[in-house]
Amino acid sequence: MAKNLFDKVWEAHSVRQLPSGQTQLFIGLHLVHEVTSPQAFGMLRDRSLQVMFPQRTFATADHIVPTAQLARPFADQLAEQMMVEIEKNASQFSIPFFGLGDQRQGIVHVIGPELGLTQPGMTIACGDSHTSTHGAFGAIAFGIGTSQVRDVLASQCLTMGRPKVRRIEVSGRLARGVYAKDLILAIIGKLGVKGGVGYAYEYGGEVVDRMGMEERMSLCNMSIEGGARVGYVNPDQITFDYLRGRPYAPQGEAFERAVSWWRSLASGPDAAYDDRVQLDGGAIAPTLTWGINPGQTLSVEGEIPSPDAFPADERAGIQEALDYMDFKPGQKIAGTPIDVAFIGSCTNGRLTDLREAARVARGRRVKPGVKALVVPGSQQVRRAAEAEGLHQIFTEAGFEWRGAGCSMCLAMNPDKLQGRQLCASSSNRNFKGRQGSPTGRTLLMSPAMVAAAAVTGAVADVRGLL
């Protein structure tokens, strides 16, 4: 039976089978950030252990950093403490650290790829569930908890059960104004928030083959919202062209040898999978969430659903979502007024995301009363965007142009919703309280759709603004 990429990469990294039946899996790249690492380093100290492969460990600060008023010490003393702690840990354990004073700093899942650290054929772990992002390069990349961060630091390994592999094939062509974000929201809407539990997702087909690396990253990023800890795309010429010349990518002849190995990793046409799903990319409209989990999606042309449209045992949950979001069944989602517009996050904070949003924002104005911010995913993205003048397009339109970080995705830094504010967001989670107010409300959508909502003052079909 022909192997898929997952099989090849998993087997290459299997150190040994354990008595429990699980695998001791070697982790080729360990990415670290300030929130999920302090206790892990503490546990190493408690047990007098060292980091086994410091040369395969890279750290940054992203979750708690402010995106405005970056002066140290931070106004938030707890955030300042965490920065001091990761600086200390990186120094003590000899780990490269891309901190705020370093031009390479940014959201961990943005900087790994742009620095060429993320490569095909690796296993990649990080104490963050959106580690699935790096699967876009044909790596097995997944999120882990703090005790597992400790395990990787000390042994460069994890104890893992092997998941099954589901091939998700997307045929056809995405329409104008429809992006990778719409596709992944459509997939999660179709397969459900727990549909992927126990699976790695392999994304493929004409639509995915045509995507650039940044779109592939958006796609893989939200695999975990569909329950799949791992999501990946087979490496191809698009992947190799992206990696060529990046600081940590192989250079010169080593790069050509690498490309040869990377090509060999891709799933063959006769590869076997545990399950297959087909989607028609051409049938997807701009998609957004209406509720309190990423599976509660609808088309921008659609109406808020009624609990009656769901199986009996799901109705109470649907009603809870309707009540929290203050929506009524049958209400059209387009035209819903918004209070806040957020463009950024590890899902959609890259240069192509900012370009698409800028296309919508150019020559238009953020609706008075709407707070709109654009947060580049890394300092490198920020510089590149400024070199193209994107920041001027945004500021002239009335968006705030910020420093790099996780920002309003997740309530750990000063960028937060207030009260019941409704936010059009290019992030990845719409759970209750996610964006910093216990009663705040989130509508997930593509960055172009966020820009459309910002200039309209309400949810709007971006296809009419392009």
Binding site: A12, S20, G21, G121, G145, S264, A411, R429, K432, G433
Partner: protein, 200 residues
């Protein structure tokens, strides 16, 4: 004798109703700004609790060791702070219709078994625990059996995790460090760690 071996968890139970309860609700992100896990117990479900009646605030459920849940419990963020908060509140095991994968793995790392049971069984259990909160539940890891006021019911733990609890290897680091030569041998075979010299 391996004192880490876990074969049984017993205690009273607290039902936390609702599907897709995510880790942001279990422990809000503002509490992740911490260098230790120590003070998390009092903040478990804090924002849900502020919205009104919550099982974690009810006197009859204080001191529970077993948390009963519905589908996809612990979805969302990988934060280990979520099971840490629940553990420090007093929880030692979970029974739900299904769990999110990263949450499940974090619980294993802390020695907290997550058992599954079918939806109708959970409904019966939750109703019973609400009516008779003082009853003691017993979770048998070896036999995959839950004993409660209504009798005995089959529960499931995936085989790999089950064996980790029975062997005492759920705290994985010791086992992972047993074979440093094999770890280094794996590193030596990986093309990207060897300048792709060995690549075909």
């Amino acid at each position: 004798m391996n004192t880490s071996i876990i074969t049984y968890v017993g205690g009273r139970a607290v039902p936390v109703r609702g599907d897709d309860i995510d880790t942001d609700r279990i422990i809000p992100a503002r509490y992740l700004r911490t260098l230790t896990f120590e003070d998390l117990g009092t903040h478990a479900f804090e924002d849900d609790r502020a919205q009104g009646k919550h099982a974690f605030d009810e006197p009859r459920f204080q001191g529970s060791a077993i948390l009963l849940a519905n589908r996809n419990f612990g979805c969302g963020s990988s934060r280990e702070h979520a099971p840490q908060a629940l553990m420090r509140w007093g929880i030692r095991a979970f029974v739900a219709e299904s769990f999110a994968e990263i949450f499940f793995g974090n619980c294993v790392a802390l020695g907290l078994p997550c058992f599954t049971a079918p939806g109708p069984e959970l409904a019966r259990l939750m109703d019973s625990v609400e009516a008779a909160p003082l009853q003691k539940l017993g979770l048998d890891v070896e036999r995959q059996l839950l004993s409660w006021k209504g009798g005995e019911t089959a529960i499931a733990l995936p085989e790999g995790a089950r064996r980790q609890f029975l062997e005492g290897t759920w705290d994985a680091l010791g086992q992972l460090l047993e074979a440093p030569d094999l770890i280094r041998a794996t590193a030596e075979r990986l093309p990207y760690l060897n300048d792709f010299a060995a690549a075909t």
